[in-house]
């Protein structure tokens, strides 16, 4: 076995895992608060990429401005979807939320389709250079993805653990009625949670876009994998989303290299079936409510 190729796969796995983990984190936070699977989260990922594409292509913004702009716009779309759709379904059966989420997914996709068409778009890599680490080549964009994702995870962790606002999100996830009874406002927590989930999805998309292609359906496979990740990691679990993201990222990168590139996307789902048959509760089941 060639060692440098092996290290290369580790770096690829970390890159993919970072993107997946960021998307899954937003999904798991929203699930923790609302107990609904937000299928439209993949559309937020796509919306983030297009927003940055628009900022760079049409407004001539630089990459960092586009990244922040995309995070802000996508957070706003996520909050709007909460205000206009999910908050109104709070007292209806969970099935209604799910159908609404699928409707939103199709709606946002159709809007992107109408504005930008179905063609694949390419975002020029802002940092085309490479780094060499121990004889292995690491493109700077990939280093950025890994570093950015780790930075955001640490920031999110500190936010949830150390701030009062973060504690209200965790409290709402652990016991919604208990949280309401101490005076935490569900509406406020939902808005903050949706904003964070939208921003994380957008950042993941904008970091990933320069090494991938942009299209209206780009979020679909990512969101399916993000669901695999949060089911693996335990629905609503933050460490589970991170670990699950890495597991899927590594499985894909190693699977593509050592087994077959064609099987890359099947591996995530095969792993889901395998792990869930051994551990039906996921890797980090949420504390009992």
């Amino acid at each position: 076995m060639n060692l440098s190729l092996f290290v290369q796969q580790i770096l690829n796995g970390l890159t993919l895992g970072s993107v997946y983990a960021l998307v899954a984190l937003g999904l798991t936070l929203v699930y923790g608060i609302l107990h609904i699977p937000n299928f439209s989260h993949g559309a937020l990922f796509m919306a983030g990429a297009y927003t940055a594409f628009f900022f760079i292509g049409s407004l001539g913004a630089n990459y960092w401005v586009a990244l922040i702009g995309a995070a802000a716009v996508t957070a706003a779309i996520a909050v709007l979807s909460e205000r206009l759709v999910f908050s109104r379904l709070r007292d209806s059966p969970p099935l209604h939320d799910m159908i609404a989420a699928i409707g939103l997914l199709l709606f946002i996709e159709a809007v992107a389709h109408a504005i930008w068409g179905a063609d694949f778009r390419r975002m020029a890599p802002p940092f085309p250079g490479i780094m060499r680490i121990a004889g292995t080549v690491l493109p700077i964009q990939r280093a950025l993805i890994i570093g950015g994702a780790i930075g955001l995870m640490i920031a999110l962790h500190l936010f949830l653990k150390r701030t009062t606002t973060g504690a209200t999100i965790v409290a709402m996830a652990q016991n919604r009625e208990g949280a309401s009874l101490v005076g935490i406002d569900l509406t406020r927590v939902s808005i903050i949670t949706f904003a964070i989930s939208g921003a994380l999805a957008a950042v993941a998309a904008v970091l990933f876009a320069p090494i991938n292609l942009i299209s209206p359906s780009m979020g679909n496979l990512v969101i399916l994998k993000a669901f695999v990740i949060i089911i693996l990691g335990g629905m609503g679990s933050v460490p589970g989303a991170i670990l699950g993201g890495m597991i899927i990222g590594f499985a894909e990168s190693f699977g593509a290299f050592y087994i077959s590139t064609d099987l890359k996307d099947i591996i995530a789902f095969a792993l889901l079936v395998a792990i869930l048959s051994l551990r039906p509760q996921g890797l980090f089941p949420a504390p009992s409510r």
């Binding site: 208990g178 009874l181 005076g183 406002d185 009992s288």
Partner: protein, 235 residues
């Protein structure tokens, strides 16, 4: 202090409360007796804003509560310590208690002083303050729940079945704490299945059946009432 007039609550086609009229005066400790499903918890949930009334009014002082959000009602000074405790099991005892003071987050000094009082009332919580609330025994969790409610600085405290599922010795301890809280000036409305022990510490009592108040009186009169003894005390 707290006054319900004709409070009516429906769950779909099921009427959980029909025209409940009751009141708790300032400084009183009032017990609400009733079997499972009689409407005690529904009344408490309606008062604290978690369920919306179909008709009637609930007033705190001269302030209408019906239609207000739970978070506003807590800020108004009415705190509900729910049946089943509803703690945050994955958070430390300390964090559970501090979240109880969420509506007073702009006054951390005041909250620290109350935390100190909670620790004096339940010394075991000081010892276990860094453990996850979910890892505590039932009695200790109930203490966290009462402590968390006190951190909200209630003028009126609703306690729903604080002794449910606890060992007899712990029940005694919890009810003694309830009495002490009331004596320190907090108005208390207590729902209890443990009628005898609850009536022993109460100033006044109501009996609720099928969502209606069927009896009101002072504790001695209720303890002497044949039907009450049969239905709620079993002697």
């Amino acid at each position: 202090m707290l006054r319900c007039e004709g409070a009516t609550l429906d769950y779909g086609s099921y009427r959980a409360l029909s025209g409940v009229t009751m009141h708790v005066d300032k400084g009183e400790l009032v017990v609400m007796l009733g079997a499972n499903g009689a409407g005690k918890s529904s009344l408490f949930l309606a008062i604290s804003g978690l369920r919306k009334l179909k008709a009637g009014s609930i007033r705190l002082g001269d302030h209408e509560l019906a239609g207000r959000k739970p978070s506003q009602i807590v800020a108004d000074g009415l705190v509900h310590c729910p049946e089943g405790r509803k703690l945050f099991p994955g958070m430390s005892v300390h964090k559970n208690l501090m979240l109880g003071a969420y509506v007073h987050r702009r006054d951390p000094e005041g909250s620290k002083a109350i935390l100190e009082r909670v620790f004096e009332m339940f010394p075991i919580l000081r010892e276990k303050q860094h453990q996850n609330a979910g890892s505590l025994s039932g009695g200790q969790q109930q203490m966290v729940a009462i402590g968390r409610a006190l951190m909200g600085r209630p003028k009126v405290l609703l306690l729903d079945e604080p002794s449910l599922g606890l060992a007899p010795l712990v029940v005694k301890q919890v009810l003694a704490a309830v009495k002490a809280i009331n004596e320190a000036g907090t108005t208390v409305l207590l729902a209890e299945q443990n009628a005898y022990a609850a009536l022993k510490i109460a100033h006044r009592a109501y009996v609720i059946e099928n969502g209606r108040i069927v009896m009101e009186g002072d504790p001695d009169a209720l303890l002497g009432d044949e039907r009450i003894r049969k239905a709620y005390i079993g002697a």
